[in-house]
């Protein structure tokens, strides 16, 4: 009787991968069990379950395990093989200088996610200490990200719940802005292009069949996601713009946001009056009140009256 040896699943998976990679011909599970003696259970059903699990885990890691139905003496039996060129990275030869340049770029813009680091390692690079100069950290750790990115590359529709509705979305692209990830795509429910904030997805994200759609040519992902300024203009309030006096301490920031062309007049004290969009009253109010008492609506009178009413309502809360 052979002595039982406890094999851990990771070791068995590596041995299975090695075996399938080096054998020139597809091999059956029976043969695999013989070759990896003692590593799979002696019970055929248990061994089959272990093998299926290993196969599924390896496929999950991006290793395609091909199945072949044999003929001849073994007619009807399923055999398995792995072709190294189908999963190994051999496509690009980066020079040491290119690898170094990528490392430096990666130290400058850091994605707080495994994807970018794993990509670096696969390219043969390494994480290096950031050098002098500006550095950017982008959160890239949303649990839905992997499946969304895979769907974009495969042109496979996504299904998820958003704002209480079940959506099917042809994913076109993603944008990282101000600490959030946005998904841009065609929403089958609304029959139009829509933007979804990824952290607000309320369910699991499932991927449909690939090659189901095309990404519109010339689509600008950054422009597809409205910025604060565009949000303030996206509404149906009858007054499209308002003139707002901004204290000198905040003039630089507001100029950066709306450009010098938004300045209507400048005061001797350094203050300035800006003409800004206010069609979306909610977005306008959020922007205005961020400046607390450093900003005042000058006109139109109706917008000014609205601000007074909002403030009176809050002043009466207690």
């Amino acid at each position: 009787m052979t002595k039982k040896v406890k094999i851990n699943a990771a070791e068995r998976m590596l041995n299975l991968l090695a075996l399938l990679s080096v054998r020139n011909q597809p091999i059956t599970l029976k043969r695999i069990r013989q070759e990896l003696a003692g590593q799979y259970s002696e019970d055929p059903d248990a061994a089959r379950a272990q093998f299926e699990r290993d196969k599924s885990d390896l496929r999950e890691l991006g290793i395609p395990i091909e199945t072949v139905v044999l003929g001849g003496d073994q007619a009807g039996e399923t055999a398995y093989k792995v072709t190294r060129n189908n999963y190994e990275f051999t496509d690009a030869n980066f020079t040491p200088q290119e690898i170094e340049a990528l490392q430096i770029a990666a130290a400058t813009v850091r994605l707080a996610a495994s994807e970018s680091e794993v990509a670096l390692w696969k390219l043969g690079a390494e994480r290096v200490r950031p050098s002098l100069g500006a550095r950017v950290t982008i959160g890239f750790s949303d649990p839905h990200l992997d499946v969304i990115l895979a769907a974009i590359s495969k042109r496979a529709p996504l299904s998820f719940t958003y704002k209480g509705d079940d959506r099917v979305v042809d994913a076109y692209g993603m944008l990282a802005r101000k600490g959030f990830w946005y998904l841009v795509g065609h929403d089958h429910l609304r029959k139009a292009q829509r933007v979804f904030r990824v952290d607000r997805i309320e369910s699991e994200v499932k991927m449909g069949k690939p090659n189901a759609y095309k990404i519109p040519k010339g689509l600008n992902i950054a422009k597809a996601v409205p910025n604060d300024r565009q949000m303030m203009a996206a509404g149906d309030y009858e007054h499209p713009t308002a003139k707002v006096r901004v204290d000198s301490s905040l003039v630089r920031g507001v100029t950066r946001e709306f450009g010098r062309e938004a300045i209507v007049s400048e005061g001797a004290d350094g203050s300035a009056v800006f003409e800004v969009p206010c069609s979306n009253t909610y977005a306008f109010r959020l922007w205005l009140f961020a400046m607390v008492d450093k900003a005042e609506v000058i006109e139109p009178q109706e917008v000014r009256d609205n601000v007074v009413r909002w403030l009176d309502e809050l002043a009466e809360r207690a």
Partner: protein, 352 residues
């Protein structure tokens, strides 16, 4: 150290004997190779995924110090050694030395000199490809970014590998600021600066002399972490709140300031010393729960959310309450329950 050397024995040992050296150890709280940050023992799949990254990386370098490999892959040395020991006994039957993974740990070094099995990395997934191209794209758009041809050609090679070679569908929108270039130059040349800085917590502008240690972007804003003469410590300044910059003509010890900036950067942005406030937010004020780091979030039956966050100043809270409008209220502490009303009254005074 004996354990680390154990894998050298693989050259002569038979398979079953080697199994004994491969017992996995439950990882305490180590960061996972794929940054999953889950606690508890690692799954077989996680360990294999890690090894398929580490082994080709090692075989390219042949000899790397153990702590360096552990640091690079964000693993504990204990986990790393366990995984390498396991890999060293893996291979192809009949498991002769030339059919095993050639890796071993010896005297603090990880050695993988003969590329046998697993010498080439897995292909990049689309997510990894998109991520690295987006990252490099963003790095190239930063002020003062390197225009080196090596990066340009690396990007061209990467682009050829992506499913969307003409335009990466993953973009990073970086904030822009005209002062950034001057701040970078002052850091590179160790030039001390005099700045006028608007402090929203006090709603005033103060003059400060700073020595830039780190420039970084988070949540859509640029910040400078600098040695500040006014407070005598390292301080974060939001770049869009800097009103003006003038060089003082003095230089400073960049190494010292950068080192202090690095250690300061590890500190929590909001320490325990700051005051905690609990707000109840609903409907169109729900963004408050998403926009700031929170201590806790509790969803109530009526759909509202009780958010506890740390506040930098009363003025900061007042501003938040004003913006939140009728859909935010202070739960505690009681002293802030009327803060929204008094702030609204103060701002209302402008509209007489």
């Amino acid at each position: 150290m004996a354990k680390k050397r154990a894998t050298k024995a693989k050259k002569s040992a038979k398979k079953p004997a080697k199994k004994r050296a491969t017992a996995t150890k439950p990882a305490a709280s180590t960061t996972r190779t794929r940054a999953t940050k889950r606690r508890g023992p690692r799954s077989a799949s996680e360990r294999v995924a890690g090894l398929l990254l580490i082994l080709p990386w090692l075989m390219k370098r042949k000899r790397v110090r153990l702590p360096e490999v552990a640091r690079q892959f964000r693993m504990s040395e204990e986990d790393l050694v366990a995984d390498l020991q396991m890999a060293a006994v893996c291979g192809v039957p009949p498991y002769t030395p030339d059919a095993l993974v050639d890796v071993f740990v010896d005297d603090g070094w990880v050695i993988a000199e003969i590329p046998t099995l697993f010498s080439r990395p897995l292909r990049l997934t689309s997510a990894e490809m998109y991520a690295i191209v987006a990252m490099v794209d963003a790095a190239q758009r930063l002020p003062g970014a390197s225009k080196r041809t090596a990066l340009t050609s690396a990007v061209a090679k990467l682009r050829r590998l992506t499913p969307d070679s003409d335009d990466n569908p993953v973009k990073i929108d970086l904030p822009d600021d005209p002062l950034l270039e001057e701040l970078q130059r002052s850091q590179q040349e160790s030039l001390e600066l005099r700045i006028a800085y608007f402090n929203p917590a006090r709603s005033d502008v103060s003059m400060r002399t700073i020595r830039v240690g780190k420039i970084f972007s988070e949540r859509g804003h640029w910040y400078v972490l600098a040695d500040d003469d006014k407070s005598g410590a390292m301080r974060n300044f939001r770049v869009d709140r800097i009103q003006s910059i003038v060089r003082t003509g003095k230089t400073y010890d960049q190494v010292d300031v950068a080192r202090r900036a690095e250690s300061e950067a590890d500190r929590e942005w909001f320490g325990d010393t700051l005051e905690s406030v609990t707000l109840r937010v609903r409907d169109d004020a729900s963004w408050i729960a998403e926009a700031y780091p929170t201590v806790s979030r509790v969803k109530n039956r009526d759909g509202s959310v009780d958010v506890t966050l740390r506040i930098g100043s009363e003025h900061w809270l007042a501003r938040l309450l004003l913006r939140g409008g009728g859909n935010v209220e202070v739960i505690e502490p009681a002293k802030y329950k009327r803060l929204q009303a008094t702030t609204a009254t103060e701002v209302r005074a402008k509209y007489v």
